[in-house]
């Protein structure tokens, strides 16, 4: 092998080495670019799922509150009816006692 051929082989090897490094740099840049997209996708997925869950939580709470309120109204309406009936039955005697008080 002549000296010239030897130099050519070495120069070619260095070119190949340089190409390898350029390719690695390109891949590294690509990985870094890709990570932003991955993060945004995963974030969006996590938040969307959390929003869905949050919406279910508030909806469930609203239904629970509504049903508790209705239950309370049902129970209380009975008590109120009882209170009115009770007081109505005492009206006459109350009037008599109050008249006595006014005329005393």
């Amino acid at each position: 092998m002549s000296g010239l051929e030897t130099i050519k082989i070495i120069v070619d090897a260095e070119k190949e080495a340089s190409r390898m490094l350029e390719e690695a740099q390109r891949k590294a840049t690509e990985i870094r670019k890709q990570i932003d997209i991955t993060i945004e996708n995963k974030r969006s997925e996590a938040l969307s799922s959390a929003k869905q869950k949050a919406s279910e939580i508030t909806e469930r709470a609203e239904n629970e509150g509504k049903s508790e309120a209705e239950k309370f109204e049902r129970e209380s309406s009975g008590k109120l009816h009882e209170l009115v009936t009770n007081a109505s039955s005492k009206k006459e005697s109350a009037v008599k006692k109050l008249v006595e008080l006014v005329l005393s």
């Binding site: 869950k53 949050a54 709470a61 109120l80 009206k91 009037v95 008249v99």
Partner: protein, 204 residues
């Protein structure tokens, strides 16, 4: 292997290692960045859910509290209705005493005696409505004299007063007055009547 081949192999081998190291470093950085970001957005998501739980609890409580408030208002409305009916009936029934002449005379006498004692003067003037003045004028004077230990001079006012019943006791020049009319007594007693009615009707 020739010297040249060994030399070029070394160049390529070093380049491969360096290239691998560049890629590995980029992958490690990507993993670290992803983990940091994951931790942040998971915290964000967890915060969203926590807020929804707090909001949900507030919604639930508000609905129950609104129901309680509405019921309280309904209850108060019903109570007021009954209380007003009872107070109206009381006022009407108390005024009906005027129909029973004997009982009303006794009551009028009591109101007059109380007023005379309260005003504390020798000479007083009694003011009645036109009907009562006509019905009880002299009788009332006699009853007062009978009931009081040392009755002073009691005159009846010439001008009748506008009232459903009862009496106003005044001095001669009408500058001091004790008002014992039905309306005044009812007004003075209204707060007490409300309390008593509440106790009688609702055990309050």
């Amino acid at each position: 292997m020739s010297e040249t081949a060994k030399f070029t192999e070394d160049i390529l081998s070093i380049a491969r290692e360096k290239a691998q190291s560049i890629i590995s470093k980029a992958e490690e950085d990507a993993d670290r960045i992803l983990n940091e970001a994951k931790s942040n957005f998971l915290r964000e998501a967890s915060e969203l859910i926590k807020n929804a739980e707090t909001e949900g609890e507030a919604i639930r409580r508000r609905q129950v509290s609104e129901a309680r408030h509405a019921l309280k208002l309904r209850e108060q409305g019903e109570k007021n209705k009954i209380l007003n009916e009872v107070l109206d009936q009381t006022r009407k029934r108390a005024s009906e005493i005027t129909v029973d002449e004997n009982r009303y005379l006794q009551y009028l006498t009591k109101l007059s005696v109380d007023g005379i004692q309260e005003i504390g003067l020798e000479n007083v003037v009694l003011h009645l409505n036109a009907g009562d003045a006509k019905r009880f004028g002299e009788k009332l004077n006699r009853e007062i004299s009978r009931q009081m230990q040392k009755p002073g001079k009691v005159d009846l006012a010439r001008e009748p007063i506008e009232t459903a019943g009862g009496v106003i006791i005044s001095n001669n020049d009408d500058t001091i007055r004790i008002v014992n009319t039905f309306e005044q007594r009812y007004e003075a007693l209204e707060a007490r009547l409300l309390i008593e009615a509440g106790k009688l009707l609702f055990n309050e």
